[in-house]
């Protein structure tokens, strides 16, 4: 790994504020950012990243490669939960295996946003369509994981019971494809595409100039939340901890390979890789809580939030970039 890249990432304001949040909990400071401020910051980040991506997308002439990349991204998001599910089934019941598989098959918008800030700082360009890729990768894992759970439950388990899933498909699909994060990102992207340069001029101070500051503020909160969840990890055991560290790395390698196959540029490759490596800790846990309430969110959330997320934004980004630059296109 190129050390200067790693260091410049570590010493960037967003990452430092994330560490500051972690530290606040470790020294038991009473620092906290009360709701709904973090919710506001995350809505802002999604609106801004969507809009910026849309403006950029509207200015480029998307060729076949863009469609291919979007398709590949969706396929990745549908395949990852399958092997995750079978790995997790070795130790966990159907519900928890499906919930965690969905978490790691889906993506984290904040990890993506941090990756774009990392690229901006490093002066590496990326395509606006990657924002669409992110939004499209959020939902498939939810549907795949529920299908897997349903199949597994249809044959009676070791305890002889075969509980049915209560929530109907229409509910599930709506929760998966119209959840607030997917909806706001794709919607803002559309506004960006439609309004183009004129929209950009009007919104630039809001969506661009403020972006880094709002991200710092939000990552300060993420640090606090992640540190609070750290203590839940004690109950997870070595198997899940190993899963939360190794699966993202494995998924990242798949992402790098895929990027190479698709012939993506460095920036786009890093974003796709980061998406593959990231795990959802907002949309998916909520959707799973509705579709599979028997699953324990106390298992999946600490892994995604307190292990995989910090790993990706601190070590992951420079590591993936170094690998892409060495082995990439």
């Amino acid at each position: 790994m190129d050390l200067s890249f790693a260091l410049s990432n570590f010493l960037s304001p967003p990452i430092l504020f994330f560490f500051l949040g972690l530290l606040a909990v470790l020294v038991r400071s009473d620092l906290e950012i009360p709701q709904p401020i973090p919710k506001f910051l995350s809505l802002y980040l999604m609106l801004a990243i969507g809009f910026k991506g849309g403006v950029e997308l509207g200015q480029s002439t998307p060729g076949g490669q863009v469609l291919l990349t979007l398709g590949a991204a969706i396929v990745m998001a549908a395949v990852v939960p399958v092997y995750c599910f079978f790995i997790l089934r070795r130790r966990l019941n159907v519900y928890n295996a499906a919930a965690i598989a969905a978490t790691y098959g889906s993506v984290s918008a904040v990890t993506f946003v941090t990756a774009t800030a990392f690229l901006d700082q490093s002066g590496i360009p990326y395509g606006g369509y990657m924002v669409a890729a992110m939004a499209l990768m959020e939902s498939p894992a939810i549907v795949v994981a529920v299908i897997l759970a349903r199949l597994a439950l249809s044959k009676p388990g070791p305890d002889g019971t075969a509980p049915t899933l209560e929530t109907g498909w229409s509910h599930l699909l709506r929760d998966a494809f119209f959840n607030s994060s997917v909806f706001l990102i794709l919607g803002s992207l559309l506004v960006g595409v439609i309004t183009g340069d004129r929209g950009q001029t009007a919104l630039h101070p809001f969506t661009n100039a403020l972006f880094q500051g709002m991200l710092c503020f939000f990552l300060l909160d993420m640090g606090i939340v992640a540190a609070r969840r750290l203590k839940n990890l004690r109950t997870s055991g070595g198997f899940l901890l190993g899963f939360a560290i190794l699966i993202p790395l494995f998924n990242a390698l798949l992402g790098i390979g895929l990027s190479r196959l698709l012939g993506l540029g460095t920036g786009d490759a890093l974003l796709l890789t980061t998406l593959c490596a990231s795990a959802s800790y907002i949309a998916v846990p909520a959707a799973m809580r509705l579709a599979l309430p028997e699953a324990n969110p106390g298992l999946s959330l600490p892994l995604a939030l307190a292990v995989t997320f910090p790993l990706n934004i601190t070590l992951g980004l420079p590591l993936y970039l170094a690998l892409i630059q060495r082995f990439g296109s």
């Binding site: 906290e32 009360p34 709701q35 973090p38 919710k39 995350s42 209560e166 909160d221 993420m222 939340v225 800790y281 907002i282 846990p285 909520a286 809580r289 509705l290 309430p293 028997e294 324990n296 969110p297 106390g298 959330l301 939030l305």
Partner: protein, 97 residues
């Protein structure tokens, strides 16, 4: 004043809509909801200051007649069994107006 049953339910905010629908079906005349409740129970600590909403509770209060009570309890019990939560029943007098 009229004797009523006072039913208190605490459960996941994500399940709130479903529980309120069940109350409606059980025929209660109304209910009051307080979101952003936190708590601890068999499933451990659930506190609301989170980016995700999966650890947030809501508190529901409904005053109903003795007959409705049975329906309410019958409707709510399976949800609580499946997703967790608590239900308390006590006596009260409804001030007519």
């Amino acid at each position: 004043m009229q004797a009523v049953k006072r039913v208190e339910i605490v459960t996941d905010t994500l399940q709130l809509d479903r529980v309120l629908e069940l109350l409606d079906k059980a025929g209660v005349s109304g209910y009051t909801v307080i979101r952003n409740a936190e708590g601890k129970g068999h499933r451990g600590v659930r506190s609301g200051d989170d980016v995700t909403r999966v650890f947030q509770n809501s508190y529901i209060l409904t005053a109903c007649t003795e007959e409705q009570l049975e329906k309410v309890v019958a409707a709510v019990r399976p949800v609580l069994k499946r997703v967790g939560g608590m239900c308390l029943v006590s006596d009260a007098l409804w001030v007519l107006h």
